[in-house]
Amino acid sequence: MPDAPGLELIAHEINGRHQGAVVGSTYEHGQAALLADKDRIREVLAHLRDSPGHEYRALTSLHAADYLPAEPRFAVHYELLNMARVERLRVKALVPDGGDGTMPELDSVVDLFPTADFQEREVYDFFGIHFRGHPDMRRILMPEDYVGHPQRRDFPVGGEPVIFTNTEDSVPGWTK
């Protein structure tokens, strides 16, 4: 894990090669994260994978988070690993909501990291983020006819209301 100055160096280096690809960085709890422009995430990841001195060849995890009501709303997290140095780096792509009912979109990195295939499908399944260029963009865990993306924060939790003695006043349709 690069330390905070090292992270700044990495961000500076990438911005030198790819102007504006890295929009910021955070260093919290000893964990380094680069914030990347969502349309240039492939440039950032390809650079970190291939350039000498970095060589983060493994993508250990790809996942998403919904930061509602923050804006931009979603972030897709890429956890990179250099196995020789046992060094990890997190890259976040900030993805705003599509608006007007359209899906937020992002470039797929399956050709850079084949392991991203199923994980991008999972992100699509649970957060409704579409990955451009993915070979097989469909649901992976939920049933194919499922409506909605259940890990979004505005998705109802589900279950059924259960009446306990301490909730009987608040359950609709139930009077003493």
Partner: protein
């Protein structure tokens, strides 16, 4: 042959002889019978003491209840308890429910041992549909009974939303003893003497969803050429239509002895034939 009807209690041939002399008497009688020396009333009594009479339905239910074959089907952590149920420590072989069949075609009991996700529900329904009648379902644990702690978008809130469940076993997970207790309850239901549970506590008899069979089991007897006398033998003919079900008064319940007497009365009549077998107790889909 004029059969002497006596209660068979205490006359079982399986009963241990009380003394060596009695054993000798039995042996000699058996020898006489085999030689053909036993005649008349002696022969009748001998045959009678070695024959157990019952209705076919009761014998059938007895066999079914004591040879429940569960499907090899585990859903979650409850399945661990379900598996240990057949181990030597708990030994459900004592109650004839230890043969986990690898195919639903050979199983007649489905134990839902764990949470049922919405993606698993159609699979379970298919397995249930593949099982042959009669078949029973035990919902094991809080999750399959009500969703349990999984009050979320992915889990069915109670497996009885998509298939008929006979027994709910509470617990998280239930211990193997609890599951065996559920199987014993299911056996009583199969034998035609279901435990009424909360209905007994609140005296809510007659509110069952299914028709409760009389204690002696269903009696498929009807007299040829005559309508059965009301209140004696309730023949189960063709299934009533839905309208009849709603309007007809409930059938008079026969207690065990009344039903037995009625059966014997009917059996003495030569002009007796059994009607079609009644629809079984174990619910259809």
């Amino acid at each position: 042959m004029d059969v002497e009807r006596t209660k068979l209690r205490g006359l079982s041939p399986l009963e241990e002889p009380r003394s060596p002399e009695e054993l000798r008497v039995r042996q000699l009688k058996a020898r006489d019978m085999l030689r053909g020396d036993l005649e008349g009333a002696d022969l009748d009594r001998y045959v009678e003491s070695r024959v157990l009479t019952t209705t076919l339905e009761r014998a059938q239910n007895w066999a079914r209840g004591n040879s429940l074959f569960p499907a090899t089907f585990g859903l979650a952590c409850c399945a661990i308890e379900m598996m240990s149920m057949v181990s030597a420590r708990y030994d459900t072989a004592r109650f004839g429910a230890e043969v986990f069949r690898a195919s639903p075609r050979q199983a007649d009991m489905l134990i839902l041992s764990g949470r049922v996700s919405i993606k698993m529900a159609p699979v379970i329904r298919r397995i249930y549909d593949q099982m042959l009648e009669p078949k029973w379902v035990i919902s094991m644990g809080a999750c399959s009974s009500s969703g349990g702690m999984f009050a979320n978008y992915a889990v069915v809130q109670g497996a009885d939303k998509f298939l008929p469940v006979d027994i709910h076993v509470p617990g998280c997970p239930p211990r193997p003893e609890a599951l065996i207790y559920g199987i014993l309850k299911l056996q009583r239901k199969i034998f035609g003497e279901p435990d009424l549970g909360w209905r007994r506590r609140y005296e809510a008899y007659g509110t069952e969803e299914e028709e409760r069979p009389s204690k002696a089991g269903p009696l498929p007897i009807e007299r040829v050429g005559a309508t059965p006398a009301a209140g004696i033998v309730e023949g189960r003919g063709p299934a009533p239509t839905e309208a009849e079900l709603h309007t007809a008064p409930t059938h008079p319940e026969l207690t065990g002895h009344e039903a037995e007497d009625a059966f014997e009365e009917a059996a003495e009549d030569e002009r007796v034939r059994p009607s079609r077998p009644p629809s079984g107790w174990g619910g259809d889909a």
